[in-house]
Amino acid sequence: MKRIAIAFGLVVLVFGVAILAQTQTESVEQELKKLENDWLQAFFKKDIAFSDRFLADDYLGTDEHGNVRTKAQEIAEIKSGAHLSTSGVQDNIKVRVFGDAAVVTGRNIMKGLFKGKEYRSPYLWTDTFIKRGGRWQCVASPVSKPISEQR
């Protein structure tokens, strides 16, 4: 009887741990998806404070032309407002979590006006996050534009 009780307890424990781990992963996924959307909105709002928190100090990004950007350069670009896009949406978001590291892939469809004509430009990105000091920070964000969309 005692053995059955121990075995039963063990099974419950294993299931409990598995459910807890899955719940935690799902919660990280939601957190990172929200961060990605907040990052996109911060771009349009020129929210420097958010960008400063979101990007790690040793962040390295790559734009669609192959230019490498540090955190300071990325923030300067947001501050300048030099980009043409005025709004954007995200899709195909996929989050993969590996303990204190995570990779999020997705696509931004940027919208705006160029010479009075509305345009929609898709950009593919792969963001790497590291959890430090209890919060997720982006350490890398390479971007590319599908060749079919390049002119």
Partner: protein, 149 residues
Amino acid sequence: MKRIAFAVGLVVLVFGVTILAQTQTKSVEQELIRLENEWVDAWVKSDVAFFDQVMADDSTFTSPWSGVVSKADYLALIKSGDRVFASWVLADMKVRVYGEAAVVTGRNAIKETYKGKDVSSQNRWTHTWVKLAGRWQCIAAHSSRIAQK
């Protein structure tokens, strides 16, 4: 006297731990640079087994040409032999290590044909690695084409 000995011991311990951590980071950096060089060799030799080993099962590869592709599709492309390389030069490699994760960035200049058509290019790439089951595995690779001036 006891306090001084304790303080000296503590300083030596902190230095020791720092040196050990630095040595480990250096060794990880070297291992990942080696893997990145092997990555290129494996492409040139169509060594599917190498990629099967170093790419995590749910890894993704993204480029302007391919969009987002799975490991299976990436292996199929290598196997197809559609890409034929004349040269593949790596430069500007930089490794950042975060415990059991790391990001390697670099540049490449590739002279190649795809299905007989010249598709030579220069690219910036970012590879994200995670130590899984005791070995480094690539979980994401992304290429951005350098604009021709």
